[in-house]
Amino acid sequence: MTDAKVLNDWPQPYRLMDAQPYWEALADEQLTFQRCADCEQAVWPAHSVCTHCGSAGLSWEQSSGRGTIYSYSTILRGPTPVWSAIAPYTVGFVQMDEGYFLFTQIEGEPDGIEIGKEVSARFVQRGEQKLPVFALVTSGEEG
């Protein structure tokens, strides 16, 4: 394998052990996050101990996959050939309905993307990995 091959592939997540359940669930197109049994807050990214209250009582829950755009940027110049090939593409933070913030890709026409707009998750295959990306919720999908 050459360096060029690596550069041309989708970058794969550097998996840490706390997040193993997250990656396994994604393979089945399930978007999950952690919640603390003691303070009841959502915890993200994956941890061994609650970042809000210090409790070790974290458990995995399934997310609704819905949220609103907190911030975003459309990239015109991709860092490597795979990204250049799909540019322009948009990355940003989604404020999930469960109260945590997920960094992700937001699909759709850049002109339609705005802070506060509702989005929902879908899944794309990137190399070996299935990843959640988000798209604007159209009025027909609401309710």
Binding site: L7, W10, P11, Q12, P13, Y14, R15, L16, A19, Q41, V43, W44, P45, T51, H52, Y70, S71, Y72, S73, T74, I75, L76, R77, G78, P79, T80, V82, W83, I86, Y89, V91, G92, F93, Y100, F101, L102, F103, T104, Q105, P110, I115, R126, Q129, L131, V133
Partner: protein, 403 residues
């Protein structure tokens, strides 16, 4: 009001490389250090400790500070890297001062060099160095796109526009057009229309609103006690220092629900940085406030960071930092000349050394030895703000030509 400084910079050396005059980070570091030792009038064997920032992008070997003393054949009691990105470099001055204050060192070398443009495809490796490899890198963010998350929020919360960011780029280029080593010097002075006509790199940031990778630089500072500095020719006293960091990855920052530092506002937010806490510490230590500052060298890698840093340093209320630029205060005739080498936007970011370039520029201006433009009235007190990572770390040093 100000307390007596404990330490001073008594030696400064700088070195420069370009596509036509290639030097690697080790060569730049040796050249800068040799000049700094000569400036301080000391031998390498008198240096007790060496502090650098993280490894240069153009020479990523770990233990770089120890590689340097090895290469120099210069045994010391301590080497270390302060790895708060660019902020770590400003913090080297603080750590040097602390060692000197407790008698653990007589002379400390603070050093950094880099030459990213000459050795590295920074676009390809850029975000991978500073984004979360688990939860961010798989989405292909670039460094501009991560900083743009803050720009977008800043626009949204405070009503700023691309025109405002253009004014920051114009102000910095006014300085950079006249500095011999500024990466964007060749473009001369620019206007708002030129900035707004440049293509987007990552919305809402256009090319002129982003710093560029420029050449290579090395900077070395010799720090000793204020007492010893009395014998020096052009001492620059360290009046105050401060630093803070809130995160490495933006995703961690976004998921914090509160922060121990009140200056950083309600969490989550992307419009306040650790610089606010760093500045609080530096002002408290020195007894100085914003009105005592004659000049600033700050970390504006993207144009929106100009007003955000101005606010964090106490020169404007949150959301109003752009007024400092609009009113011309940062220019050569202003009361707060800022980024007098062009800053990161125009001088460029040779790599991790960009904040050492800010320190070198401050020392040169305080000594009346500017390589580019200098205001008519030589500054007495300069503030250097170093930032680094994805809005991650901030560090402030207050430097003065007098005690």
């Amino acid at each position: 009001m100000s307390t007596a400084p404990g330490a001073a910079i008594v030696g400064m050396g700088d070195a420069y490389a370009s596509l036509d005059n290639r030097k690697d980070p080790l060569q730049l570091a040796v050249e800068a250090t040799t000049a700094a030792l000569a400036d301080a009038g000391i031998r390498k064997d008198q240096v007790d400790a060496v502090f650098t920032g993280r490894s240069p992008w153009a020479d990523k070997r770990s233990q770089w500070s120890n590689i340097f003393i090895s290469h120099m054949q210069m045994p010391v009691t301590l080497t270390s890297e302060l790895t708060m990105h660019g902020a770590g470099l400003t913090a080297t001055i603080a750590v040097a001062s602390q060692m000197i204050a407790v008698g653990a060192a007589e002379y400390v070398l603070c050093l950094q060099s880099d030459a990213t443009q000459l050795f590295v495809d920074a676009v390809a490796m850029g975000a991978e160095a500073d984004a979360d490899p688990q939860f961010e890198v798989p989405y292909g963010p670039t460094i501009p796109a991560l900083y743009a998350q803050a720009a977008r929020r800043y626009f949204h919360e405070f009503g700023l526009t691309e025109e405002d960011l253009a004014d920051v780029a114009v102000a910095n280029q006014r300085w950079g057009a006249h500095h011999p080593y500024a990466a964007k010097r060749k473009h001369g002075e620019i206007d708002r229309a030129k900035v707004l006509a440049s293509p987007y790199v990552a919305t809402p940031l256009r090319r002129w609103m982003c710093s560029t990778w420029g050449g290579g630089t090395g900077g070395a500072l010799i720090v000793t006690s204020a007492e010893k500095a009395r014998e020096a020719q052009n001492p620059v006293y360290v009046l105050g220092c401060g630093s803070a960091t809130t995160h490495e990855y933006l995703g961690d920052r976004m998921n914090m629900r509160h922060c121990r530092y009140p200056g950083l506002g309600e969490f989550p937010n992307l419009t306040h940085t650790a610089t606010a806490e760093a500045a609080r510490q530096a002002y408290a230590m020195s007894g100085l406030g914003p009105s005592d500052i004659d000049m600033m060298q700050i970390s504006v890698n993207f144009a929106h960071m100009g007003p955000i840093v101005m606010e964090d340093l106490g020169f404007a209320k949150k959301g109003h930092g752009i007024d400092v630029y609009r009113e011309g205060r940062t220019g050569i005739d202003g009361d707060l000349p800022t980024d007098t080498n062009g800053g990161w936007l125009s001088f460029g970011q040779p790599g991790i050394s960009c904040n050492m370039d800010s320190l070198v520029e401050a020392v040169r201006q305080l000594r009346g030895q500017a390589l580019g433009l200098a205001p008519a009235r030589r500054p007495r007190t300069a503030l250097v703000q170093g930032a680094g990572g994805m809005l991650a770390a901030g560090s402030v040093a207050l430097l003065s030509s007098s005690t």
